[in-house]
Point group: C2
Chain length 152, copies 2
Amino acid sequence: MMQFNRKTEYALLSAEYMARKEGALSTPRRATSTREIADAYRIPYPLLAKVLQKLASKGAIRAVHGTKGGYVLARKAAELSVADIVEIFEGPVAVADCFREEGSNCPQWHGCHIKAPFSELNAKIHNLLASTKIADLARRPYSSAPKELTIT
Amino acid sequence: MMQFNRKTEYALLSAEYMARKEGALSTPRRATSTREIADAYRIPYPLLAKVLQKLASKGAIRAVHGTKGGYVLARKAAELSVADIVEIFEGPVAVADCFREEGSNCPQWHGCHIKAPFSELNAKIHNLLASTKIADLARRPYSSAPKELTIT
DNA sequence: GTCTTATAGGACCTGTTTAGTCTTATTTAA
DNA sequence: TTAAATAAGACTAAACAGGTCCTATAAGAC
């Protein structure tokens, strides 16, 4: 599966939403409220609030308090990567524990023959996520349900 | 994190072990028992037994009953990919649910702006796993703890 | 034949994680 | 001063992961 968890998905959706909104020439740069995104994507409000709080506490977005407040991207969308957001919610990209904490507590560490090839694989996956920026997500216009793009 | 679960790891270790053993010129092709792998990697025996049973039921390996029995790879190591094994234990490679079951039950499906770019990302990850064969894991000799290869 | 060494497979248990809720406090524009 | 917003901690139900236990079956060795 290799699946992102819900919070990560909500964070990615939110970041793209903000990037798109902030990038629009018509709108003067203004904050996006939790309520706005929750309504747009039908995400439970209190949960999304948690997600955005965490993004803010990690410096990916910036909070604007008070009425008409909300959040704005803390960096340019072209400088915020998918990997940055994924790692906030899921820790370092690592297909196995040993690629996070030097494998000291892995019973298989000694004489594990697949460490090296999987380390390379891990690096490639990390690179994919790091080279995909939020701006890349926000760039393209939405075209409905591209079934032939779905992986079987 | 994007982490494989334990069973997947055990399956990959086992497949590589069998490929290496079967590939060795010195040993006449013989089955590898659950016990042999469990001892080599200090994996709880009953759990590994489950893992190998599943691999066998899905056709990745073939069971040899009775004394001197065990398992052998059902296909050549060059024709069995990491993706094949991962998918046996974790289902289709998919960074989000909607890339498995046509997203019909995703509340965000309508108007989700990140579907297309993530579908591409998903395809790339799948391709990485599918193009890495068990033979590729077994090929290289083990060199101890390549710290500089580890992703931070 | 009957041991012994294997795989086969279902039932079960338990700790952790996930997704989500509830509540209270704080900030600030209008 | 009020209403709209974020901040943050405690809490809960359900799902999952990792692992154990037990009984059945197959087949080579003697």
